[in-house]
Structures are given as structure tokens and as C-alpha cells.
Symmetry: C2
Subunit: 205 residues, 2 copies
DNA sequence: CGCGTTTTGTACTGCTCGGTACAATTTAGG
DNA sequence: CCTAAATTGTACCGAGCAGTACAAAACGCG
């Protein structure tokens, strides 16, 4: 037994890193966000991250693992509005906060256009198929989270008994993802707000 | 060797083609549809088209021109439902026929998943930027066509005077494109039909 | 037939891709 | 100091990319 000190204390023995891992991951996130998984090349990534290639591989594994870590950061950062919306008091408020939060994210000029979970790897070559399926799973997890929330709302009398939480959840995801396409196509904040106002009219009373 | 005689015999003087240009274009369309512009490689395309590379370049120019021709064929073939929906008698029927036609196209097992105009080049590298912008323009042209149709409907008293044709058009495109994402994520026909039923509830009376 | 014209298949170009080998460099521990 | 461990930069790898040169093959026409 050499070291009874596993990893609690860093005690890094070699040459220290000259870059901030989280900061570099944020830069990688914006590149993937703007160009998608396939469209983002290694030179694109290393240039934006300010590091060279072996440093990227040492810190993040490979391109796919880097993308997954960037997705995690996306979910906990720019896309956190989605899970946050689940905590709204009523089902209608969940729907409204989801879409308004989406508009805020999609129109924030500091962000690339669109939603990474949609345009990261929608249709792609065979090499990106794992990433494509991962994004499908992530989108599906949003739908199930919404469905669970709406089922709770119905059991609490917040939704009519004849409403279908699964349909409400898929409708919400459909509008949200459609808004993402609108954002990549250049729609303005006001235009999206009008769309959301209209989408809200379909909500059960 | 027998001559398959593609379409016509315009008394061409050289060696005749051994493949049907339109048929090859259909094959190319499905490859672009399934893998997107960047994800579809030249070997993918030539293999599906049953021709070799110089024949492709001689008949279609290059990859980008081939994609544009495939898009034209897509618009006049699988996606013709969209323009066809404009001829419905009422604005509400236009909306309904647009979305139901979209469901038919998106759930046809002979087609790849999703909508080519959405997933052909949503986020991509710099090399595909022209194609990306082209698809943005094509999606925008659908919105303006819908808007024109809804403006006519309002002038005919088919829509309330306080309704906004531009918002109605963008809402329709948002739901349609959202359905495309649902389709790529594996949604079934019934699930999409429920979504459309719900989206219809937002329509002005 | 011979000639011009067009398509076909093979083989190649230059380039970029994701991923790595290797040596120099910089730290900590003995 | 010396050694081990970790990062850094350069330079490279095989593979795949879009696109093309070239010659053989297959036609219409005289």
C-alpha cells in the first residue's frame, strides 16, 4: 500500500495545468452549440479553448466525451431553466415558464442561436450516431419529467381529470423545440413571445 | 448491352447514361435526408445512387448542387403537402391540413425520420454555411406563404379582424418543425396526432 | 469503317479529420 | 540533487474527405 491518500488532497506531483478546465469546457460548449457535434472540428475546439490537442485529450478523453461533458454543463447552465420550470406552482405556470425561459435562453445574445440538445446532432453521419442517440435520450427525459409533473398536477386537481399529461408534455416539448428552429432561423424575441402567447391558448383551463 | 433508356432519347451523340438521373436523385435525397448535408459523404451518396463519382459530378455538378437539386425534389415530392395545404378553403383547414400532412410525411415508413428542411443543415461547420442559409430561406418562404394565405383569409372574414396572420403563420411553422423533432426522436403517429389536436385548440374561432 | 462525343471506371490529388508518440518542461517528494 | 509524475508543444499517423485526370468504352454520324 503506497498511498493511503487516494484523491482527497490533490497533491498534484507533476507539472500543473496552465488553463482552467471549466473555462475551457465553456468555450468548447459554445463551439458545439454553434456548429453541432460533426461541424465542430478539433482545430475549432482547441483554438476556442486556448489549449493544444494533447491537453484536450488528457483533460477530456476524446471528442465525444468532451461533447458529453459540454452537454452536462449546458443542462446545468443555459438549459437549467427547463428543470427550474418544473417547480412552478401550477401546470400552466410550468408550461409558461418553460417556454418563456426558452425564449430568454434562445434570444440571449451571449448564446449561439438555437438549442444544443436539438441541433447538436439531429441528422448526422454514422460516426456521430452515439451522440445523436444521446441527445434523443436527453430530449426524451425532458418529456418524461414534464409528464410526471403534469400527472402530479392532475392528481392535485390542478388539471382537468380528462386531460392527458403525456400529450401536454409532448405538446410543450414540440413548441419548445419548434421555437429553437425559429431561433436558428433568426426569429426575434417579440415574435417568439407572440408564438408562446398563442401556444398558451391551447392549454386546458 | 441493353439500353435502360432513362427518360428520353434526345439523340445524344456520345455514350449513353446507364442510370436514371431522377432515380439517382431520389436515392441521393434519402441519404441527405437521413444523414444531413455534412453527414452524407460522397461514398454514401455514390453507393446509394448506384453510380461512381465522376458520373455524379458530370450529372449534378458537385455535392452542394446535388443537395440543392435534392431539396427541389423534396419540396415538389414528399414536402408538397405544405404548399398543397395552402389551398384549403379556410385558414383553420390550412393549419390542420399542414400539420396532418406533416404527420403523414413524417410517419411514412418509406421516408427517413424528420424533415429535410429542418435537419439538412441546422448547425454545421463553415463549409456547409451556404446550405444552412439556403434552408433558412426555404423555411422562411413557408412562413411567408402561410402569412399571405392567412392575410387573405382575414380579409375574407375567415379570421377575426384582431388576429395576426404573421403570428398564426409562425405558430404553424413552430408546431410543424417541433413535430419534425418529435419524429426524429421516435414519436409515433398517434402521439403526433394528439399533439396536433391540442395545437388546434389555440386557433382563433 | 473512322471520327468526334459523351460516359464509365480506376486511380489519383491535396486537404482535413480525429487521435497520438515523443521529447522537453515543470512541479513534488525523497 | 535526483527521480517520478504530470502537462506542454511539435510533429506525426492512418483514414476519410471532396473533387479530378485520364484512358478505355460505347454511342451517332458520315
Amino acid at each position: 500500500m503506497k498511498r493511503p491518500n487516494p484523491k482527497r488532497a490533490p497533491a498534484s506531483r507533476g507539472r500543473p495545468r496552465t488553463f482552467d478546465v471549466d473555462r475551457a469546457l465553456d468555450r468548447a460548449l459554445t463551439v458545439f452549440w454553434r456548429k453541432g457535434y460533426e461541424g465542430a472540428s478539433l482545430p475549432d475546439l482547441t483554438r476556442a479553448m486556448g489549449i493544444n490537442r494533447p491537453s484536450l485529450y488528457a483533460a477530456f478523453g476524446n471528442k465525444e466525451q468532451l461533447f458529453r461533458k459540454a452537454m452536462d454543463r449546458y443542462a446545468q447552465g443555459p438549459a437549467a431553466y427547463a428543470l427550474c420550470a418544473l417547480e412552478a406552482p401550477t401546470a400552466r405556470a410550468v408550461f409558461e415558464r418553460l417556454l418563456c425561459g426558452g425564449i430568454d435562453m434562445l434570444t440571449n445574445p451571449r448564446n449561439p442561436r438555437g438549442c444544443l440538445a436539438v441541433q447538436g446532432a439531429l441528422a448526422c453521419g454514422d460516426a456521430a450516431d452515439n451522440v445523436r442517440k444521446e441527445l434523443i435520450a436527453r430530449r426524451a427525459s425532458l418529456v418524461t419529467a414534464l409528464q410526471d409533473r403534469f400527472e402530479r398536477a392532475r392528481s392535485e386537481g390542478d388539471l382537468p381529470p380528462d386531460s392527458d399529461p403525456a400529450v401536454l408534455a409532448r405538446y410543450a416539448a414540440t413548441v419548445l423545440h419548434g421555437l429553437s428552429i425559429q431561433a436558428t432561423s433568426g426569429a426575434t424575441r417579440q415574435e417568439m413571445q407572440r408564438i408562446v402567447e398563442m401556444a398558451l391558448r391551447a392549454w386546458p383551463t
